[in-house]
Symmetry: none
Subunit: 245 residues, 2 copies
């Protein structure tokens, strides 16, 4: 379907189209369509743009990835469908490893997402053979590969709350992208980016490029100045006040 | 996928799972998945529980169905997937007729929903042959069967704004279940229940059982005391101000 240029919500409809295409290709789970619908609602209340709070979190996130010893980026179905190239570029700019990591896991879907990332230019893609288990999680969801297992800083766009908590318990610094500031993921992460992943990833790349030359001290100062709790509360106020006629 | 008992948001994920299962069975439309996501967003902002306002509206709704001459319950795909047994029980307790009524209508989906309701214990299910047209609506959406056509009071869980308005123009009392207090359906209905349908239907059954012995005067008093505009405004304030965590 082509959406006419005149449509005022063309951008949002094109993102939705990208997701349904990803669903048809087998990258996205049915539950991923619902999750996207929830995200659209929060995004609508945010005015469908990157807030000042989100921009601040995106800069802190870039600083955290650049400061890390072993940064990793977790990629699920929705992320692979919406920002495959962005995920690969962010990994390259920040020296992060990419790991496919699904909540509704099937071998087939993992393989398709791995291929999509390769097609978008990725080098090694982790997560296609799981070698480790995250303590305190039951079932398939506990399995991870070397990238997330060894990471000191991990970016989880669109992650489940349970897994975010388990990653935190392992002592990792968790960066989340979540349009819902009330989710457990949002509340448990160290840096929560309340923004649409299609804006958040390009913004993080931009910040990472700008920060790449800076020394460790400057990056540490950015992280020290960032207060996730206050930032989240401000995002929540923004969303609730966005509910106007 | 089985969601482990330990997951703190098991209930919400199971509802989501029920909907994706309904989608795979052909009961739910693609648009129904996205609409459910939007509902989840508002439900999050409400704290995922029945508010005092919603409970009041649910009691008034039960009184309205019990007071009606010809009450009807409209069932769409999401309702059939999420609360088939609840819909059938509510119809039984309140003496309402059940009518399958879809926005994205196909013969096949109508038939599947009819079967799902029968399997859940329904007697006669209306809506599988449409005999009448709602004035002022174009296309397939205008067609209804005897239950909605003759109803003086009609419950429309998760209904489109256009149809809600058309039912109102026919002089019917409309009860809506809608998590978005700003939707046209929410604003046009006589009784608007701002609650998740998986909580609203069981709550209405409970109220209907308690009210069933009462005389018409007592039911009329409950309806007289109910002010939908004020109730809706209170729900909206609740969402805007947020619940304490």
């Amino acid at each position: 379907m082509r959406i006419p240029n005149s449509h005022p919500r063309k951008a949002s409809l094109e993102v939705r189209h990208g997701l349904t295409e990803g669903y048809k290709k087998g990258l996205v789970a049915e539950a991923g369509l619902i999750a996207h619908g929830r995200g659209e609602c929060f995004d609508y209340l945010l005015g469908e743009k990157t807030s000042l709070q989100a921009a601040t979190a995106e800069k802190a996130a870039a600083a955290a990835l650049l400061s890390a010893e072993n940064p990793a980026i977790s990629v699920n179905g929705n992320t692979a469908a919406l920002v495959p190239g962005g995920s690969v570029n962010l990994a390259r700019v920040t020296g992060s490893k990419l790991e496919v990591n699904l909540f509704y896991r099937t071998k087939k879907r993992e393989g398709l997402i791995g291929k999509a990332l390769k097609k978008a230019g990725a080098g090694k893609v982790y997560g296609l053979s799981k070698k480790h288990r995250i303590p305190g999680l039951g079932g398939e969801r506990a399995n991870v590969d070397d990238a997330i297992w060894k990471a000191d800083v991990v970016l989880v766009p669109l992650e489940d709350g349970d897994r975010t908590e388990a990653l935190k318990r392992m002592g990792k610094t968790v960066i989340a992208v979540d349009l819902n500031p009330l989710s457990r993921t949002a509340r448990k992460a160290d840096i929560t980016i309340v923004d649409n992943v299609v804006r958040a990833i390009p913004n993080m790349i931009k910040h990472a490029r700008q920060l790449k030359g800076k020394d460790k001290k400057q990056l540490a100062q950015i992280l020290k100045n960032f207060d996730n709790k206050k930032n989240l509360e401000a995002s929540e106020r923004l969303i609730r006040s966005g509910l106007k006629r």
